[in-house]
């Protein structure tokens, strides 16, 4: 029922269905209509134009009434098409079920045969069969059905193989039922829906194919005529009397188009991926739709400064506030850690900076991102592109998915250089080798010609880092770059990043969920929860004296080496869904200290100097330097 509603909501599919039903209805009632006899020739009235002498669509080369011939031809074409589909489905399903149910050698033998049949361009097989049996509508029907049998056999076999070892089939076997009984009572009922779907997608083809054979003169023989042979006979008079060709041709077009529209609608309604609209491609830059005032930049020499940044995901009529007003800044040579659970909005924050949030569904709805004093939110695409990878570079999490699988790593590195600097291929290649050496990839000269799948995870991540370093950027945004790696590799990568930052005065924004990593690398840390920053400050201060209950609980979750049997306390509950945030503190439902005041109004992020917390019951007094 839901399927039908979905189908009808698709206007095109509905239109196709209606047209097709009308044609089928017309074909069914044709014998009852007051039509001229389609086979009576009247050579005195050849090639009458539509409307002449009571012939609504005119007459053909033998003076026969075209309307009558069209309707009878449609009837015949539909009948033959349906019959061919039925026989193809019947025999194909029988073969497929036998192959799938018995498996083993039977299966092997049958499927080899099917493979060979599918190796023919379909019409050759049909022509060979017609050649053997002789021209005629029945033989054309047999040929078209036979040609389509392999398609059904293969589909149905696949489904049957899946069913043949299900418990209910085993049970039937143990109960002593014969193979025929099991196939008819257990397998067949489960296979029939698949057969019906396969039939509905191929029936248009079958009508077209039988019409084609008739068109070639190999199908229906005079005086009987289906749409194909009407078109074939009219071909001789195409130039002098085109209406005799157009009438049957247009009917075939209408029928096939109706079937295709309906078929597409059926497929869309059945395929949940298409239904949810998930298959949309992201645009080159995130859509910007800013409401309200644009905050001014802070004047303190930060290279990157996020002010009240808001990014949302608009999915149908739901709005997910992934980033709900985030302030961050990072100075040259500084490393800022952004920490939070999955879904806290930290990655979306990172991607929002250079407009890389997938859009649709992402939209930047407020705030600003200042690179020096220049607002990047709403900057023209070309400006954004010229900064991407040149001044602000990214390192992503999973290097197997983030490197192009079909380009050599050297080419990917060279490209990163060449999009921003007009250097020759050989220069870029030399620079790429140098970069690979910098990130300590052994045998850089030969590794440069490897594909990503030929490298280990740690190696690929180094390539990702090398790519980020290619143009000596001012800022690197690292989005969980070590999460997919094992601990030793992780330590190497972190020290590499730390070194580069000190050598080159890089500013690093490091997104992670791992306090160990933050402690090792970051000067300052910002803790995110439900799309907002709940606490920020110098790393050591925050780690030693967390003020927000969430930070404290998060730190308590981290096991420490050599600490014996300290109890690890998981935080009960889950982070809230960001499409229906309640007013007040988002952590309140999971917080032990929550009071009535926590659930009302906006709680500000406040504190002295670099230290700030968004809590009215902080765990610790804030001071600028506790360490």
């Amino acid at each position: 029922m839901q399927f039908l509603t979905l189908l009808m909501r698709n206007r095109l599919a509905a239109a196709g269905g209606i047209v097709l039903s009308l044609v089928v209805l017309l074909a069914l009632v044709t014998p009852l209509l007051p039509l001229a006899n389609p086979d009576v020739t009247d050579t005195a009235n050849r090639f009458l134009m539509p409307g002449e002498q009571g012939h609504l669509l005119g007459t053909d080369h033998l003076g026969r009434d075209l309307l009558a011939r069209l309707l009878h031809g449609t009837r015949l074409s539909l009948a033959v098409g349906f019959a061919a589909a039925f026989f193809a489905a019947f025999f194909g399903a029988a073969i497929g079920i036998v192959a799938g149910y018995f498996g083993g050698r039977t299966d092997n033998l049958i499927m080899r045969g099917v493979d060979v049949l599918m190796a023919f361009p379909y019409i050759l097989l049909a022509l060979a069969i017609v050649a053997a049996l002789g021209p005629g509508l029945t033989n054309a029907l047999i040929a078209v059905a036979a040609v389509n049998i392999p398609f059904f056999a293969r589909n149905i076999r696949g489904v049957t193989v899946g069913l043949a070892h299900k418990e209910f089939v085993d049970a039937a076997r143990l109960a002593g039922l014969g193979h025929t009984r099991i196939i008819l009572t257990e397998i067949l009922p489960n296979v029939i829906p698949v057969i019906v779907i396969a039939m509905s997608t191929t029936i248009g083809w079958m009508i077209l194919e039988t019409a084609g054979l008739s068109f070639l003169g190999l199908g229906s023989q005079p005086p009987q005529a289906d749409l194909g042979s009407m078109l074939g006979e009219a071909r001789g008079a195409l130039i002098t009397n085109p209406h005799t060709s157009i009438v049957p041709g247009a009917m075939i077009l209408v029928i096939v188009m109706g079937i295709n529209l309906l078929g597409d609608g059926v497929r869309d309604a059945l395929d949940p991926r298409l239904r949810s609209g998930a298959l949309t491609r992201p645009m080159p830059a995130t859509r910007v739709d800013r409401q309200g005032l644009i905050p001014a930049p802070e004047q303190d020499g930060a290279v990157l400064n996020l002010r009240q940044l808001q990014t949302q995901f608009h999915v149908k009529d739901r709005i997910y506030r992934a980033v709900g007003g985030v302030d961050l800044k990072v100075a040259p040579g500084e490393c800022l850690g952004v920490i939070g659970e999955s879904g806290s909005g930290k990655s979306v924050t990172a991607l929002s900076i250079m407009g890389l949030v997938a859009s649709p569904p992402g939209v930047v709805t407020g705030g600003a991102v200042y690179y020096h004093q220049e607002d990047l939110v709403g900057a023209p695409y070309e400006r954004l592109r010229s900064l991407r990878g040149d001044k602000v570079a990214y390192i992503f999490q999973d290097p197997l998915a983030t490197l192009h699988p079909l380009y050599k790593v050297g080419d990917q590195l060279s490209e990163a250089i060449r999009v921003h600097h007009p250097v020759s291929r050989s220069e870029a290649r030399a620079r790429a080798i140098e970069l690979l050496k910098q990130v300590r990839i052994p045998n850089a000269e030969s590794r440069i010609d490897s594909y990503p799948h030929e490298m280990s995870g740690g190696m690929r991540q180094r390539v990702g880092i090398a790519m980020a370093l290619a143009n000596d950027p001012e800022v690197i945004i690292a989005d969980e770059p070590t999460t997919a790696l094992d601990v030793t590799v992780q330590a190497q990568i972190l020290s590499l990043l730390d070194e580069l930052r000190r050598e080159r005065g890089l500013a690093i924004v490091f997104i992670t969920h791992d306090f160990g990593v933050v402690a090792q690398l970051c000067d300052r840390v910002a803790v995110m929860y439900a799309g907002r920053i709940v606490e920020t400050g110098p790393t050591r201060t925050v780690l030693n004296a967390p003020a927000h209950p969430y930070t404290a609980r998060l730190i308590a979750c981290v096991p420490e080496l050599g600490e014996g049997r300290r109890r690890l306390e998981a935080i009960p509950g889950l982070p809230p869904a960001v499409d229906r945030l309640d007013p007040g503190c988002a952590f309140a439902p999971r917080c032990l200290k929550a009071s009535e005041a926590c659930r009302q109004g906006d709680i500000a992020l406040e504190g002295p100097g670099a230290r700030a917390v968004r809590c009215i019951h902080p765990e610790a007094e804030l001071s600028e330097d506790v360490a």
Partner: protein, 315 residues
């Protein structure tokens, strides 16, 4: 790579043998005296004696198959009685014309189809996407033989841009310009359905790829959008487009039969239809086996192209 090609060629042998078996079995379905059936209207006593000798028609079925197969392997496909010339000569002559037509259509459908699919995906829900989607629906619904006839009416009869049909090459005359002039309409008419199918598939393959992380990486590097779409994304999408091109080649080859009839193109399809109507069984048999074998080889070429394109395939 050479090893891979050899391996694929070897694996084609059972398929090729299977094709001969199936064609042979279909022909064995012919009721009555096989010699009479094969000769049809040409069944003079001399011809019957000749064919019984050539094909060993008095021998048992299995023996007959091997005689036939052996003859084919030495290039002897028998003699067409309606044309009174060796089947293989006729098939080769006609197949070159079909190859020209189908080859041009195949290139057209690949280039146009992929381009339309990529544009459609990159401009998803825009006007270009809607226009292309509609054109594709029309293209895959219209029977190619009807489209060909309508094109003749419009472009040859009304506008007089192109000749109605035929091709001088078949009669030994006509230069490149003449061939091209005669080729444009049939090649286009033949390519329309396949173009639609390729465009549809390319669109969905591109939509799938454009959401991948490596596309985001390319954008994060500052790669121009044109190169992101036509370079990074299309390169990855080709991996799923190429196998469909292989399947479409079969459809183009099949559709060529209709188009050759409509445009009087002297190809192998028209030869087959004429041969069937004249009951020239040996010509049908030879033509079918030859074209099917070529198609199998073409699909091996597609597999090789795929392995060149995707380094992850073990060769």
């Amino acid at each position: 790579m050479t090893g891979y090609i050899l391996k694929r060629l070897l694996s084609a042998i059972p398929v090729l043998l299977g094709i001969t078996v199936i064609v042979f079995l279909i022909m064995a379905m012919i009721p009555g005296d096989p010699a009479l059936a094969i000769l049809g209207a040409y069944a003079t006593p001399e011809n019957v004696a000749k064919i019984n000798r050539d094909l060993g028609l008095d021998a048992p079925l299995v023996a007959r198959y091997f005689i036939w197969l052996g003859n084919m392997l030495t290039g002897d496909f028998g003699t067409s009685f309606s044309l009174n010339r060796p089947v293989i000569d006729e098939v080769l002559d006609r197949f070159s014309a079909t190859l020209l037509l189908a080859g041009t259509s195949f290139v057209l459908c690949s280039v146009l189809g992929i381009a339309a699919g990529v544009i459609s995906a990159a401009k998803q829900y825009g006007w270009a996407d809607k226009g292309i989607t509609f054109a594709v629906l029309l293209g895959i619904s219209i029977p190619s033989f009807f489209l060909g006839m309508m094109m003749i009416l419009i472009f040859a009869v009304e506008l007089r841009w192109f000749p109605v049909s035929g091709m001088k090459m078949a009669y030994g005359g006509g230069g490149f310009a003449d061939v091209a002039n005669h080729l444009i309409m049939p090649a286009f008419a033949l390519s329309v359905v396949a173009t639609g199918v390729v465009a549809r598939l390319s669109r969905s393959a591109m939509l799938e790829v454009l959401r991948q992380d490596f596309v985001r990486t390319a954008r994060a590097k500052g790669v121009r959008e044109g190169r992101v779409v036509w370079g990074h994304a299309l390169r990855a999408a080709m991996v799923s487009i190429i196998p469909v091109l292989g399947i479409q080649a079969g459809f183009v080859l099949s559709g060529a039969v209709y188009i050759e009839m409509v445009f009087q193109w002297p190809g192998v399809g028209r030869m087959l239809v004429d041969a069937i109507l004249k009951r020239d069984i040996l010509l049908v048999q030879g033509g079918v086996v030859f074209v099917a074998a070529c198609y199998v080889l073409f699909n091996i070429a597609v597999d090789v192209a795929q392995s060149l394109l995707d380094p992850r395939i073990k060769t």
